[in-house]
């Protein structure tokens, strides 16, 4: 059951260990519970404990909670400046000039977390060209950023207006 989560963490050059007994799958969504919540999850719940992400058509979509958990461990990480942070949460790619610090593999095709200067995880992306060789332009393609919370609100209000 945990494989989609572990596979996702591996793409970021990280390992994550979650207690299998406390991880539950509800339809296509994964949650990490604590011991108090576990017995309550036998009923038909909507959300419980820490939301980890969902699987759709064989692809795993991580939650921001899971990204933050991975960010606390060894993983590929790119720290960006304030202007790039703002652009990234608006859905834009990361340009080389906005990068402050790089940890882990930055080879073309690898995945990396994007952090702000407070080491808070803003999302993740895919490296477009080897960072050490790239001169300018977009170097990390935005795959998911925390601005998604606003996009969800907007799409939900459109659906129900």
């Amino acid at each position: 059951m945990m494989e989609p989560i572990k596979d996702f963490a591996r793409q970021l050059n990280s390992n994550i260990s979650l207690d299998e007994n406390l991880t539950v799958r509800r339809q296509n969504r994964f949650f990490l519970l604590n011991k108090t919540l576990k017995p309550l999850a036998s009923k038909d719940f909507f959300h419980a404990g820490i939301y980890l992400g969902k699987e759709k058509d064989g692809v795993f979509f991580p939650s921001f909670n899971l990204l933050a958990m991975i960010a606390d461990k060894k993983a590929n990480k790119v720290t960006v400046d304030e202007k790039t942070e703002w652009l990234f949460i608006c859905g834009r790619d990361v340009f080389k000039r906005g990068i402050i610090r790089v940890i882990g593999s930055m080879k073309k095709g690898s995945y990396t977390l994007i952090l702000n200067s407070y080491s808070e995880c803003l999302g993740f992306g895919k490296v477009l060209s080897d960072l050490h060789e790239a001169k300018e332009g977009a170097v990390v393609k935005n795959i998911l950023d925390i601005g998604d919370f606003l996009r969800r609100e907007k799409s939900s209000s459109k659906t129900h207006s």
Partner: protein, 295 residues
């Protein structure tokens, strides 16, 4: 006709409040489980956001000036603070000791108060959050994810069926569905009538009845509405005292003491322990705390 602006305004006057136009101020609440207050305030200040401490709230601040939406900053999206109207921040603060408790948030979506409860509980214990509308639970889930709440389980359930969860609660928040008030709805006076208010009051009594059943003997219920109508507030509390084996506890919070004599009816004197928050810099609100009467 028991509706219309003049009708409701004259009722408020009879309750001791002279109607005035209000201009609500947007407010935020710092999520102390995710943010260190002083450093967050500094970060927001560096973004040009001017804040004013709300005097009656520990973690609440009014937005005095901001050149952009405070709902679009990294700090908001990272769950370091929530946008929550000042009066709406009061109910969750009325509980005594929440750490490690089993808490019911009976009408929880969209989840501002659920997140506040989790914050006050420091993510300990458990919150069982119910809402009757499934689509509203999605909004609640987003809030829980954004604010990194870990101790909450949500069910798509009517508060009047809370006993089907099979749990007895130490604390119950009843922020019940209500008629609202004019401060947050410019068409309020046009839309609302007394039969509406009475329909809501009946639903509220049904929810109260269920809550009293699932409350532990030494438990507490905080009841709140954003309605200014006594049928949904003082009269319901008088009914609860007389029918549900509960008493109204004294609370210390923003607002004025409720009246135990309303429209010629004499209510249980403990109803005076409830608080009314008339619209001003905040919206209108009514809050009170109930405890079971032990034999």
């Amino acid at each position: 006709m028991m509706s219309g602006r003049e009708f409701f305004i004259s009722r408020y006057q009879e309750l001791g409040w002279k109607y005035e136009d209000v201009e609500l101020k947007q407010a935020i609440r710092i999520n102390s489980m995710n943010a260190e207050k002083a450093s967050l305030l500094k970060r927001l200040e560096s973004r040009g956001i001017k804040l004013e401490k709300i005097p009656f709230l520990e973690d609440g601040y009014w937005i005095c000036k901001s050149e952009f939406s405070v709902g679009a900053t990294s700090e908001y999206l990272l769950g370091l603070y929530s946008i929550q109207e000042a009066a709406a921040q009061v109910p969750a603060t009325l509980f005594t000791e929440l750490t490690d408790k089993t808490v019911l948030d009976a009408c929880s979506a969209p989840g501002g108060k659920t997140v506040q409860l989790a914050d006050l509980m420091k993510n300990t214990g458990v919150i069982i959050a119910l809402d009757i509308e499934k689509r509203r639970l999605t909004a609640l889930s987003n809030q829980l994810e954004r604010c990194r709440v870990e101790n909450t389980i949500t069910y798509n359930l009517d508060a009047r069926q809370a006993s089907t969860v099979g749990v007895k609660f130490d604390r119950i928040l009843l922020d019940v569905p209500c008629s609202g008030n004019f401060a947050t709805d410019r068409d309020w006076f046009k839309r609302r009538t007394i039969p509406d208010v009475e329909r809501n009051a009946k639903l509220q009594r049904e929810i109260l009845t269920q809550a009293a059943k699932v409350l532990k003997d030494d438990g507490e219920i905080v009841y709140s509405t954003c309605s200014l109508e006594p049928e949904e507030n003082e009269l319901n509390m008088d009914w609860a005292v007389k029918n549900l084996n509960v008493q109204v506890e004294e609370v210390r919070c923003h607002g004025e003491k409720a009246r135990a004599s309303i429209f010629g009816r004499h209510l249980d004197s403990s109803v005076e322990n409830c608080r009314r928050i008339w619209p001003s810099r905040t919206q209108g609100f009514f809050v009170c705390k109930l405890k079971k009467v032990c034999a």
